[in-house]
Amino acid sequence: MPASSFSGPAVEVDRLSFNYGRQRVLDGLSLEVPGGISFGLLGPNGAGKTTLIRLLVGLLRARAGTILTLGQKPSPRTAHLVGYMPQLPSLYAELSVIQNVDFFARIYRLTDKTKRKQRVEEVIKLVDLWEHRRKSAVNLSGGMKQRASLACAFVHNPPLLFLDEPTVGLDPELRVHFWEYFQGLTRGGSTLIISSHTMDDAAHCDRLAFMRDGRVIALGTPDELRQATGQAKATLEDAFLHFVRHEEKKIVS
């Protein structure tokens, strides 16, 4: 089980705004994520998903608004409770899979050598890279790099995991595998925040936030969002478009 005794919401964001120079990227965004679920941030490119995740892991500082992850402000002191998988695979090209994962295990203070070795082997097997554990990262395929990157993100068994577009560039079979890992992690008590722009990913999440232009335009379970369209056979894509139109009408009026 992930090491956190915190029982409140995993993430609380209140009226969060952020600018890159003069460009407003997040505009008074608020949301709350309960613990132990997979939460999808869904939206087109430029919606502000990556910026939101970078703020949540403490890589960026908010211009306005508040962020609490596991009840605390993101900082190096709370970083050991959080796992982060950036959009790029972000591996050390010359190091092998096992060396990459072991490095992050050490960085996240898994100090006991025997336990660390066990854990590193366990996560490498979990992401199905055991056969390739001695290969340099530079020699891995795109999908293998994604899996190695995922292993680095959760080797320390964090209670809260941020995954920025983790399934981008994966073939359908691998995508299914990834979702199996994710569901395994939430069953173990972890909270997953996953950004994506594909509705295929959205369908796997327990709860979703549809994002557009730096704001959350809808929140709910996939079923709730589909039902909100009023159509019996609505897909999540229909639901997203429904909320986009609804937003546009609000702006016009």
């Binding site: 190096p76 002191r77 050991h80 959080v82 982060y84 092998s96 060396q99 490095f103 960085i107 203070r109």
Partner: protein, 243 residues
């Protein structure tokens, strides 16, 4: 020194050890340059006089280049962002870089020094261990400088521009080509503000005049201050918010 600093340093050493071609280049390139120096200066007395300064300049140049480019790679491949989101402090990151690359800077320094001494019979009068200690100090300064400017650079193009901007003026002003005290006064001011000048003066004092480390306290002090200052500045500049 924290455990994370050692972990980062160990990872850097691991990375370079696994990259055979880079490892070979680290050893061979200084040999090629040193050969060029030895062959192109046929007058033994001139070579004896210029070799210490060239040594100091090359240590600084190679150390700066190796660290600068590697740190930038960490940024461009996204691993720096990953580290910045982890519990390690900024000082751990730059300290780890310093320690990891120092090993390779020291290897390059030793290769350069002993090659010049053995292959081209360059004379020196000071204690060998004191000369080597001072060379390691120049190496530390070079690694700190490389780290600092690569933290400032946002991409490879900017870092490439820093090489002529930071290294070339120091080569001209450090006393390698012309004695500093015979330069125009404003250039002397500038030269005396640059670390390479102290590296060259210190190593000349040790190798040519047979002085010891206690005699070059000013040079050691300035180089150490530069190294510590740049290390702290690197940690400050490497903000969590920039990724």
């Amino acid at each position: 020194m924290s455990a994370s600093t050692l972990v980062i340093a160990g990872r850097i050493i691991n990375q370079l050890v696994r990259d055979r071609r880079t490892l070979i280049l680290i050893a061979v390139v200084p040999l090629v340059i040193a050969s060029l120096v030895g062959v192109s200066v046929p007058d033994k007395r001139i070579l004896d006089y210029t070799a210490p300064a060239i040594l100091a300049v090359l240590i600084l140049f190679f150390g700066f280049l190796l660290t600068g480019i590697s740190f930038l790679r960490e940024r461009s491949q996204g691993t720096l962002e990953r580290l910045m989101a982890s519990p390690v402090s900024r000082l751990d990151i730059v300290g780890g870089y310093l320690l990891g690359f120092l090993l390779f800077a020291v290897v390059q320094t030793m290769v350069l020094f002993f090659y010049l001494i053995l292959a081209f019979k360059v004379n020196y009068y000071g204690d060998l261990w004191q000369i080597l200690v001072f060379q390691v100090l120049i190496g530390i300064g070079a690694v700190c400088m490389g780290t600092f400017f690569s933290v400032l650079a946002k991409n490879e193009f900017q870092m490439v521009q820093f090489i002529p901007m930071i290294i070339v003026p120091q080569m001209f002003l450090c006393g390698l080509l012309w004695p500093v005290n015979q330069m125009p006064e404003y250039l002397q001011w500038l030269a005396n503000a640059l670390p390479m000048t102290y590296g060259v003066e210190g190593i000349r004092a040790l190798m040519l005049q047979g002085q010891n480390l206690l005699d070059i306290g000013k040079e050691i002090g300035v180089l150490a201050a530069y190294a510590v200052g740049l290390l702290i500045l690197s940690a400050i500049t490497l903000r969590r918010g920039t990724g």
